[in-house]
Amino acid sequence: MAVRSGGFAGKVLRVDLSTGKIGTENTLERYAAMLGGAGIGYRVLWDEVPAGTGPFDPANKLVFAAGVLVGTSVPCNGRTTVTTIFPTCWPKPLVGSGHMGGHFAATLKYAGYDALIVEGKADRPVWLMIRDARVEIRDAGHLWGSGIRRTTLEISQEMGADCVVAAIGQAGENQAPMGMVVNSVSHSAGGVGGVMGAKNLKAVAVQGSGAVRIAGDKGEWERLIKFHLSILGGNNQHVVPSFPTPEAEYYNPASRWIGQPGKHWGAAKPPVAITGNIHDPNRIAYRTNSAAYFLGDEAWKYTIRGNGCTACPIRCHTMLKVPSVTAKYGIPDTAQNTCVALQFGRLFFERLAGRKGGEAAIEACMVGMHLADDLGLWSNYGQLQRDLRKLYEGGYLKDRLGAKEYASIPWDKYENADPAFLLDLIPRIANRQGELGEVLSRGTGAIFDHWSIPEAQWAEDRTTTYWKMGHPKHHANEDDGQCGVIINTQYNRDAQCHSHTNFVRNGLPLEVQKKLAVAIWGSPDALDAPGDYTPANVHKAKRAKWSLLRKELHDALGVCNWMGPWAASPLRERGYAGDDSLESKFLSLATGQVMDREALDRAGERIFTLHRALTIRDMGQVNMRAKHDIVPPWIFEDTSGAAPFTKGTIRMDPADIARAMDLFYAVMGWDKDTGAPGKARYAALGLADVGETLAAAKLTPEEGK
């Protein structure tokens, strides 16, 4: 594949902070089979970062990878995957990725790079300046100690208004495992900030004047882009609006497509009325309002507009303006984010956590967003907040924190759900102050280690939503039965996979979803009605596999797994079908190398399997089934005692889950007993070198038995 053929920028930038050496590699020579995203990340870690490397060791590497389609106008692209030895993975850090949107990935591509590999450690704080072919390591002494907002401003003054800055704040500087890197105000990759801090890397700033080429016919490309736009729904590819509308047969009050006539971006000057319909591509940006979805309708009046990643029409980062917070808390009156990060603030409060809404929740969110995104503190998908609440409400802190420190924390503000509580707590954690700040800055595993609290106290308590290895569930059986459970066993942090949940929560009637399931996974039994689960079957296992491979593929292409895959669409005229081959169609046109859906899924499987191999190697353990693919005990319980497979419970059955894992390993071609790929499987996926290394180390099933 010639470099100028399209999609790929062609180069991977490699920077060694220890030696100051800066060089480039040819992307396709080394990484063609891994495409991009975590694919490149896993390959670098496999080849260059030995097992046992700690996250903050200079020998650890940070791979910032864009994706093949990033920088184009493929809807819902713009994602960067940051792969490294992940610090919050407990008890032993293993391979993991953070993901961030915004403008970083696209600009990296325009600068001419598919990925950036950061190695070693600088001897003093530095930042990396990337302007097309010109790359320099610059002194960051004047930036160290500053938050992300000021860092971005000052670097932009030096580089230019259009540069994109990915920076760490105080949390990352302090090498907090819960540190994150943030670009474009609100777009953050969790867990990797501390690794940057350990390398003395304050920021990476990029400017790019180049192009991402489209190898194929530009007219065909334009038609495919427009087709993709025509099948988009609202956020998370919810394909029915939340309200009845003349253009649609279906609606779903729980849909994230909530922009409806009568609503306004109330804080725009003057306010912008929400209009649009299913067939109108010029008003897709009006469909989603994350703030209103998560915080209630009051949020519309504070909404300036939607925001988000380069080229994405969905705009799920809602920009809010809440004038009261400046006088009350001394923070800027504007902030933006989506999902958990939007709710960073209010999730700390027991009183506000359970329900939508209210002005107090909105203010808490403003304070939380500002602090978290400026100090660069991660939530671990809300686990930080759940941990704080459990530690306090469960009396752990009263018991274990010294009396002096306990008294120094404004618990009265916590009890009253006063957002000012966050002005103490969040900097405390980001700066790793005191015992509480230090422990919480390390992730959930540190709670178990530091205070000798058995993990079981979290794993048996469903209210923590704790899953395993220091991280929470992320769309497991509460959304999607066994399929969700399988997915949640596979990673070393929370799963970050939305392929499955986007589909089951898309709002279509079950009957329609089952019809679509036949077309994609071969059977209507690939999914159940929520809370009306049936025993495990091979179709669910296949759907779990599809979900995981597509997630890796999306990360490799740089498209958003919170919007894709596009299994369903709002269009009645298509029978509500989306297009399950969209990714391969775009890739083929962009690169000029035709790849069909199956071939591309194979690449996704290659990438996912390399993650498995890395996990096996770095755990020194082939028995993934017993030691890694763990589920928490709470999924096997129901508070009202309902039995599994009865209507109205998400309770799973241990024997059934074991069978689900059997089926999953079978569809993956992995050994049933260990859940590990064999040498032959690695080879079949183009990972023969990986299989041989593992076999030699007795980490493949045949040898390990």
Binding site: S73, V212, I214, N307
Partner: protein, 252 residues
């Protein structure tokens, strides 16, 4: 006066022929000469004013222009990408003929801190859109090669890449910084209204752009920077609306 008027069509035809725009004129295109110009013509002699390869004079107004509403812009850059992807076959915001990237972060005043627009400020994004300026067209006037012409279909001011030599004077001349430069081809490029169906307007997911009948958007006083105003003397001489030789009594 009347005599001149009666002969005016003859003068215009000859002027058009000499400048090579004869066919356009028959189609009621390019040239528009005022009565004053005709009187000037008569005085100066046609030959001097309209020799071979004479420079253009007054460009007809464009028929349409793109109107941008900053309150709706969501900063997605899909307009920039549509412009280059669908026209040039590559995604390249630096080449885009509608301009967003420069204003996304801090607004057009840049990273000043304090009250800013853009993502780090109040969220407002002022899109950069070519105003398809009326006469005198800064970019066209600045071009020493007369490479900026009028598209017959839309009236858009368009860089002719076959004529452009890549001197970049047009970029310096545009008060709104709307000229792009295609580094690969070595020529300037600008918004040409996509033959009447602007791709950026089609691409905007927030209805922030509209394609409307042309109106003069150059008088809002919001030019980003001082314009470089250099008019070659032979060009000025040919524009007989105003640039009459000293002492000539122009009937205004």
């Amino acid at each position: 006066m009347h005599t001149i008027r009666n002969s005016s069509s003859k003068w215009i035809e000859q002027a058009a022929k000499a400048s090579g725009f004869e066919t356009e004129l028959t189609r009621r295109g390019f040239l528009k000469l005022s009565v004053c110009a005709i009187s000037g013509l008569a005085m100066l002699g046609l030959g001097e004013a309209f020799g071979e390869n004479a420079p253009l004079v007054i460009l007809d107004n464009a028929k349409g222009c793109i109107l941008a509403d900053p309150t709706r812009c969501v900063g997605c850059q899909r307009c920039e990408l549509a412009c280059t992807e669908f026209n040039d076959g590559r995604a390249q915001p630096s080449l885009a003929r509608i301009k967003i990237a420069r204003a996304v972060n801090f607004g057009l005043t840049g990273p000043t801190g304090g009250d800013m627009h853009g993502d780090w400020g109040d969220g407002l994004l002022l899109q950069g859109v070519c105003r398809q300026c009326p006469h005198p067209v800064p970019c066209a006037t600045a071009c020493p090669q007369n490479a900026i012409k009028v598209d017959p279909q839309t009236g858009a001011r368009v860089v002719d890449p076959a004529v452009c030599v890549g001197c970049r004077l047009c970029q310096r001349a545009c008060p709104w910084g709307m000229l792009s430069f295609d580094e690969e081809a070595g020529v300037a490029t600008k918004c040409f209204l996509c033959h009447g169906s602007p791709k950026c307007v089609e691409a905007c997911p927030a209805a922030a752009l509209r394609y409307v009948p042309w109106r003069d958007l150059t008088r809002d006083g919001s030019s980003g920077r001082p314009a470089l105003s250099v008019v070659a003397p032979e060009k000025a001489k040919a524009c007989l609306d105003c640039h009459l030789p000293a002492g000539t009594n122009a009937a205004k």
